[in-house]
């Protein structure tokens, strides 16, 4: 994948959120609609194209855990808030930025985490878990070794203790299980086909009330070359 090669050539040890989502999107994993901008005016234009409310996020491969660095602005409903948020981000963040991401705000309270890591004995392993800020607290995760198929992916979903939330839940539609299965198998494929990918995090993958899924945040860590 050229994007990964270029990133490695530039000395990156990770992909930015924008780059990570391009990689995921090319594997058929649904991601948020988003535009990378480099001025407040561009941000407003992008927000209007996407539709309010939007989120703004500082975008750099060096910012791996953005919520902790305070570089995310959520629920921006008009031009003025976008402009102000843009300026706040530029003031706060000292890291050189690839740009600022203008991103659709996803609706949905159900969140899962999907990821990939490498085990010395088994190779690429795919994780599915209860997602969002409570991920580590709820600690409900399951693993499979890539490659695996849809039948196995469905078994992964069923293995989660919290899997009932993916069915019809509190007036919300059942999650698009086909799309979750595809996400799981595709993450495994990405790991199999790209030795230079060390780890992947999609956290959270948000499930909207109508059951659609989208990656709201993503991170790809690259293999450190010796």
């Amino acid at each position: 994948m050229n994007l990964i090669k270029t990133a490695i050539a530039k000395g990156q040890t990770a992909l930015s959120e924008f780059q990570s989502k391009q990689v995921l999107g090319s594997a058929g994993i649904p991601v948020t609609q988003e535009i990378l901008v480099s001025s407040a005016d561009e941000a407003i234009k992008a927000a209007e194209k996407i539709g309010y409310p939007v989120a703004l996020k500082a975008c750099s491969w060096e910012l791996m855990h953005k919520s902790e660095a305070g570089c995310i602005e959520l629920g921006l409903a008009d031009q003025e808030s976008v402009q102000e948020a843009y300026n706040r981000i530029c003031e706060k963040i000292q890291t050189p930025l690839e740009g600022v991401l203008v991103q659709e705000m996803l609706k949905g309270q159900r969140e899962v985490v999907v990821g990939l890591n490498r085990d010395p004995q088994f190779g690429a392993c795919v994780m599915l878990g209860f997602g969002g800020v409570m991920t580590e607290v709820i600690n409900d995760t399951v693993f499979r070794v890539a490659p695996f198929d849809k039948v196995e992916a469905l078994d992964m979903i069923n293995e989660l203790k919290t899997s009932p939330m993916l069915g019809t839940f509190r007036g919300q539609e059942s999650a698009d299980l086909d799309a979750i299965c595809h996400t799981l198998t595709a993450i495994g494929q990405l790991g199999m086909e790209n030795e230079s990918i060390a780890e992947i995090d999609i956290n959270p993958l948000i499930i909207s009330p109508d059951g659609n899924i989208k990656a709201a945040d993503a991170l790809i860590i690259l293999e450190r070359s010796e």
Binding site: D119, F122, R144, D155, E159, D201, L219
Partner: protein, 488 residues
Amino acid sequence: MISSISKSPLYPIANCRSIAFFGASNNFSRMGTGILRAILSGDFEGPIYPIHPKEKTVLNLTAYEDIEDIPEIVDMVFIVLPTKIVVETLEACGKKGIRHAVIVSAGFNEVGGKGVEMQKELQEVAKKYNIRFTGPNCIGVINSHAKLNGTIFPYEGKTGFIGMASQSGSFITQMINYLNNRFGQNFSTAFSLGNEANVDIVDCIEYLGACPNTKVIGLYIESIRRGQEFIKIAREVSKTKPIIAFYAGGSETGKRACLSHTGSLSGPDRLYDGVFRQSGIIRARSIEELFDFCYAIGSSPLPESNRVIIQTHSGGPGAAAADACERSGLELPSLSPETLEKLAPFIPHTGNANNPIDITFTKSQSDFFKDIPTALLEEKEADGILVYFLTPPAMLRSALMTMGVSEDELEATAKEIVDQHSKLVASLAEKYQKPIIGFSFLTRDDHSIKCLQDRGIPVLLSPERAARAYGAMVEYKRLREKIIQSGE
């Protein structure tokens, strides 16, 4: 997958017809001597050639000074020698034309330093002469169907259906008595793997999968070296033969500094949960469970569903079983009106025909062993039964005495009666081809339990253990269907 069992590198080891033995002497404190004694006490039928530099005979067998001197090229050689002469010994065997070995000697990879080098040398010699071997740092091999007990403890000669591969040295040896005392079972074939320098657990699964005497495979795992092959072979084997694994988890090798959530949330224990499920393997949470599951699943047809009926004549064990069923993912359906009608004559007003069926007291013993289980096995709402077996010998004897059986005939009559009961249950198992899993607080030293077990009815040691074993059978069936469905 191997096309036939004889293609496995383990075939000549588990089915050897002749053995050369390094490291046995007439000194009874030597481990080599212990292993050779176990082989002899197991009535191994082929020739055995001890190699010893000084002794003329070892344990009454003619000893040879050098492997060169033995009159045939043996199928397999045991090496139980000091670490530093193991490599040269294997080389000498290779020159002689011997192609299979069990290397018991320790002091290789597991101790680090020079041991690592020596293990590499061992592998190179094996490669040069095309030798396949188990170990080093292992305790041998058992094939109860070929009268081969190449371990340190002798055992009563009985065959069994549990195939076992263990990464813990002497574990298989210790478990033979356990299996015999609790279940009247034994290993069909068992391999101790040690450092897996040449043959590993994947080779064992492949061999045991093809082994006609093995109904179920048990694994004791510390770490899996060929991950992808393990999953591939286990998925293939588990389509036709159940595999149960106990993983002594917590190996830190899988952990490393990770930057992602995924990294921080993963650990070998969770990963192995996934690996086993993906491979169609049932994970046992303890050594007891490992053998409970192996024993039950190897003794019984698989249940069609998770719906089960509990038959008891004591409330406590029945309730405990019901509770454990729920935790093992089993359902206890209510009985249909047809079944209730069939049961009516047998259940006193003190009893309970809800599931669990608590009979409290049966007027005739045969009700409990025939008519009641028959009605339950014919019930459409369920696909198997869990039965509490309790025929206290003292109660039976006093009943017989009341009936006027004389003191001399008492013991024989009591034995005859419990044997008749076990025959009734076994014939139901045969007729209905549904799981009948027993549980009892009596053990095999009680004749009633021995009879049931020896007639092929699995009786486990508590209600909870029986329920969990039943749950494992349901789970295996589900995993097997999943793997067949995914087809590959």
